[in-house]
């Protein structure tokens, strides 16, 4: 492994030699790459980034499956490198509300296959005798948690990479990147103060400096340096009797957003409770200018005052050791992103340029592995969709947005965050042409990819009385279950099924593809046949080569060489990246992004045709405008285009109009619908109640890389003759017996032990008769992928993948929710809709 001379070219250049860059180098060489350069402006083994000052503990259980599985996989890797010490981890609660949250931790642990259990105060005291148990209610114990040595792991991974690359790895510390060379939209070279390296593949793994590097190529990685305060207190005589780095579980004092963890004879005390302190990356000092390290500026005393008081309260016995003092104190800088998740994947505006940033110690080895898989073969074993860097594409990369969301998100670390909790800052950001009208109707807006979408309308409160009988037993008495929710959603649903509703804007990603090679290109992207007549629509899975889901979306053929792809707003950025990446270098394929220029209004319900017919120039009869087709539609004065289909299982159209005419479209439909009592209804109906009754799958919930269309029950296209991405794996998946099949379940009994009706919200484990989580033959746990009430079927519905032995209609099972078990039954195996299984309404 040369550490001196930079080669003039390399297959891959990795910028950053922290834990992430080292892991990438190792796993890329494991995947067969043999010509790599790793460079860092700092020295080795600690180049001065966040890796050098982390507290180095790994608590695997999180509410995010993705992060839990990445941490689990990272623990395995640290263990394999002999750099992991299993200590266990203990999250303690000071309040009853936190105890509920810890019960939810147990639930997530079970759902993601991690051990974890509740401890009462006595058990906590026995496990950690120095804890002041007088102020706590109990705790959550995670036995597989522990600590690692990321600097040593980095060395091991570099050595392994060197071995695997057989002389093809160059590691160049003390090397500053001066520029990135981009030609024809692709990365070509990395210019440094030690020379220029030609490369067609470059990964930015530069931690909190990543935005600066990305800017050299004219692209954005949305993160900001943020302070995490940490002090180290010692020597503590209590620890002197114990050998090794750590003999007691890492403590997270959740309600004060702090941790206390033994490190030899010291206690490391870290805090996320202080006011958010964000840095401008340009103010982070150079290595020479920093007394400790660039990412370890001096502690801001006044911000840490409350943290000291809280730490003294929970571990007084250790901190009041007369010999012990504060030996080390820093404002540790780490990377904070607008939603707290990492930023991974190809940066779509520069071919060959990748981001691997905002990654913590606890998930770095696994993320290096997953991103290396993604780079070399196009998909990763662990689905990374929630970390895709493209999720902020073209709306969430401004400095103001990043700072606002980071400040807000910092305060959620260790917080009790409801799964539906909405961001408050930088809103409204993306508003459709309907926004003002919806605000007038007291819409309760939720945000998706920056778009403001009404979740329900307070103006529909009168429907609660009308549907009082239908809603009996389906409203939610528990505060947690009903937080960020309203029974009005259910009433809106009933109104839509009985009359007609208008829904929009959904914030879709809308991409038009134009060019002589588009028909062939589109065929290659989709499972469904796209050589359909002009005016046909195709709902289709989009797969990776492993046969797992990259997306599911609708493709409409607009002309012989013109297609429109419509996808969910949350996936728009990553789908756009996927489609862009697959455009052949020499092909005549142009992508026109219409997401911001077209608005979408759905008109659905038994009366939808009557409403549209009143105002449309064209004939909208079933003969003239059959289901699953698309055509131009002039609505009053508005030149629109419409598809006849529905995600809520009703007759109707999605009408797409130029954003500038959107308000006119809204007013025209609202006026024409008056005599039918048309109601604007929210995404609560569109995304949950209507969808769940129809068994429609949602990307990121039911659909992800780890499941195939066969398992999701989406094989209705069969295997077409034409070649497409993922075809072989897809064909194999159809041939093989499913390891698990997506089912719709309903809750049989909602009553908790104290007699309250409870409603699951999603991500709960499905249990077998022993009370253990069900695991399929591939080692995947069965959990609730989506939960929502179906008012028309009168049930609370859950979707979950179940292995063959449980995937039987009528099978009784249990779901665990907030520490209790509730009986559920399998209603449907596969994708057959529970409501209107023959789709008579859509075809009506």
């Amino acid at each position: 492994m040369s550490e001196r001379d930079l080669p003039s070219s390399a297959e891959t250049v990795i910028i950053g030699a922290g834990i992430v860059g080292n892991s990438l180098a190792y796993h890329l060489t494991e995947q067969g790459r043999t010509d790599l350069v790793v460079l860092d402006k700092g020295p080795l083994p600690d180049p001065g980034g966040s890796t050098g000052h982390a507290s180095n503990f790994l608590m695997p259980v999180e509410h995010s499956k993705e992060m839990t599985h990445l941490t689990r996989r990272s623990i395995e890797q640290y263990e394999d490198m002999d750099t992991f010490t299993e200590s266990g981890g203990l999250e303690v609660a000071r309040t009853e509300e936190r105890m509920d949250e810890l019960e939810r931790r147990v639930q997530s642990a079970k759902a993601w296959g991690e051990p974890g259990r509740m401890l009462d105060v006595d058990e906590v005291e026995e496990m950690v005798p120095y804890l002041n148990t007088e102020i706590i209610e109990g705790g959550f114990y995670s036995p597989s948690a522990g600590t690692c040595d990321p600097l040593r792991a980095g060395e091991v991974m570099r050595a392994r990479a060197d071995h695997a690359a057989d002389g093809g790895l160059t590691v160049s510390p003390n090397t500053t990147v001066l520029d990135l060379h981009v030609e024809d939209g692709a990365i070509r070279a990395v210019e440094t103060d030690r020379g220029t390296v030609q490369a067609d593949e470059v990964v930015i793994a530069a931690g909190l400096w990543s935005p600066k590097i990305a800017a050299m190529a004219g692209v954005e990685i949305p993160l900001t340096p943020a302070v995490h305060q940490m002090v180290s207190v010692g020597p503590i005589s209590y620890f002197e009797e114990y050998e090794g780095e750590i003999s007691f579980p890492v403590i997270r004092d959740m309600d004060t957003q702090m941790y206390e963890r033994q490190h030899g004879n010291d206690l490391e005390v870290g805090s996320y409770q202080h006011r958010p302190i964000l840095w401008d990356v340009d103010d982070v000092p150079s290595i020479e200018e920093a007394p400790l390290s660039p990412t370890q500026p001096p502690l801001t005393d006044d911000a840490f005052e409350q943290s000291m008081a809280d730490a003294l309260e929970i571990v007084p016995q250790l901190l009041d050791d007369p010999e012990a003092g504060v030996r080390h104190e820093i404002d540790g800088l780490l990377s904070q992103t607008p939603d707290g998740m990492p930023l991974l994947g190809p940066l779509q505006d520069v071919e060959g340029l990748w981001s691997c940033a905002a990654v913590w110690i606890k998930e770095a080895p696994a993320i290096g592995e997953a991103v290396a898989q993604w780079m070399t073969r196009g998909w990763s074993d662990i689905d990374l969709h929630a970390s895709n860097v493209n999720r902020f594409y073209e709306y969430g990369t401004s400095r103001t947005f990043v700072e606002n969301r980071s400040r807000e998100g910092f305060q959620k670390i260790y917080g009790i965050v409801h799964p539906a909790e909405q961001w408050q800052s930088s809103r409204p950001l993306r508003t459709s042409a309907f926004y003002d009208r919806q605000e007038d109707l007291d819409a309760q807006f939720f945000e998706a990819a920056g778009w403001e979408r009404p979740q329900w309308f307070e103006s529909n409160r009168d429907l609660l009385t009308e549907y009082n009988t239908e809603l009996a037993g389906l409203t939610r008495p528990n505060e947690w279950d009903s937080r960020w929710w309203s029974p009005i959603i259910l009433a809106e649903h009933c109104h839509m099924r009985d009359n007609v509703a208008m829904i929009g804007d959904m914030g879709f990603g809308i991409f038009d593809f134009v060019g002589s090679d588009v028909p062939e290109y589109m065929e290659r992207m989709a499972v469904g046949r796209t050589d359909v007549d002009v005016g046909k629509t195709v709902y289709t899975p989009i797969l990776a080569e492993n046969g797992g889901f990259v997306s599911d979306l609708t493709i409409a053929r607009l002309g012989p060489e013109r297609y429109r792809v419509i996808t969910g707003g949350a996936a728009a950025g990553s789908d756009r990246a996927w489609f862009t990446r697959h455009i052949p270098d020499t092909g005549n394929v142009s992508l026109i992004d219409r997401s911001e220029s077209l608005c979408t209004l759905g008109i659905w319900g038994p009366d939808a045709r009557d409403v549209i017919a009143d105002v449309a120039e064209e004939d909208v009869s079933d003969e003239a405008f059959p289901p699953y087709t698309a055509q131009d539609l002039t609505v009053g004065e508005v030149d629109a285009w419409a598809m006849r289909l529905s995600y809520v299982g009703e007759l109707g159209w999605e009408v797409y109009a130029p954003m500038g005419q959107g308000r006119r479209l809204w007013d025209t439909i609202a006026e024409a619908g008056e005599e039918y009592d048309i109601r604007p209804v929210g995404m609560g109906v569109y995304g949950t109640t209507g969808r769940m009754e129809k068994g429609y799958r949602l990307y990121g919930h039911e659909l992800e890389l780890e499941y195939t269309p066969a398992e999701a029950g989406l094989t209705f296209h069969g295997v077409k003759d034409a070649d497409f991405v993922g075809k072989d794996a897809y064909a194999d998946a159809i041939e093989e017996e499913n390891a698990a099949t997506l089912c719709t379940l309903s809750v049989v009994d909602h009553l908790s032990a104290d007699g309250e009706r409870r409603f699951m919200l999603g991500n709960e484990p499905i249990l077998d008769e022993e009370g253990d989580v069900i695991v399929d033959g591939e080692g995947r746990e069965s959990y609730v992928t989506s939960a929502g009430t179906g008012p028309t079927v009168g049930k609370h519905l859950l979707m979950a993948y179940l292995p063959p032995e449980y995937a039987e209609e009528g099978q009784d099972l249990h779901v665990e929710y907030m520490g209790e078990r509730y009986p559920v039954t399998v209603e449907v195996v596969g994708s057959r809709p529970l409501f209107d299984p023959e789709n008579e309404r859509i075809r009506g």
Binding site: P285, E288, E289, A290, P291, E305, A311, L312, L319
Partner: protein, 257 residues
Amino acid sequence: MNVLACIKRVPNTGAKIVLTDDEQRIDTTNLGFTMSPHEECAIEEAVQQTEAHGGSAHVLTLGPEEATEQLRTGLAMQADEATLLEAGDEEWGPRATASAIANGVRELGDDGAEFDLLLFGNESADAANYQVGTRVAAELDLPCVTGIKSLDVEDGTAIARREVSGGEEVYEIALPAVITVKEGINEPRYASMRAKMQARRQDVDRREPTADTGAGTYEKVRLEAPETAESEAEILGDGTDAVANVVDVLESEVEVI
């Protein structure tokens, strides 16, 4: 016995020193502040002497409001009281500083705080003028020894030892006296978390400094930051592979074997 430790807020010097554009000051943007290790020892000595002999340990500085950070460090190290001579943001030379401190000590005396022992660091960590301690002694007409690395007090007399080449000098000084100390006289404690927290809440006595700068003083023209030589590390090998190279370096370059 009451002991006063006088300290100075200085930029943390553990990094490359960058000067401000006017070359009058150190650019402290990235540095953070501290006091010299000698002064940490002065505080520790004050605390230990008063713990041993009774009385009160008092810490004093001349500096801007921000210098309360260093005073609180002293309080967290178990000094009993702290005084800030509020000097604003401008820099004071050693003569003016000594005059202000001497006046401050007189004022404190007028208010009932008489000191038996005035401890200084041997020199400040930034300017290193080596003057303030001796000038204060002269102003207050007190005996003074400098560069002390061992101090014992008995019956109103201090036995102070100074390391010199080949041995040590031992001084017997009647108190009250001024003594400037050097790192090594003791091992300054790390403040405990509870002490740090209490120190944040403790009152700091604030006074307006008065100084006679006198005539014939000198002026600072500018600061210069010397070029630092670039250092490079070479990895000699991994594990046992490195042995031959290490031996080679020890033989031919370091010449220890």
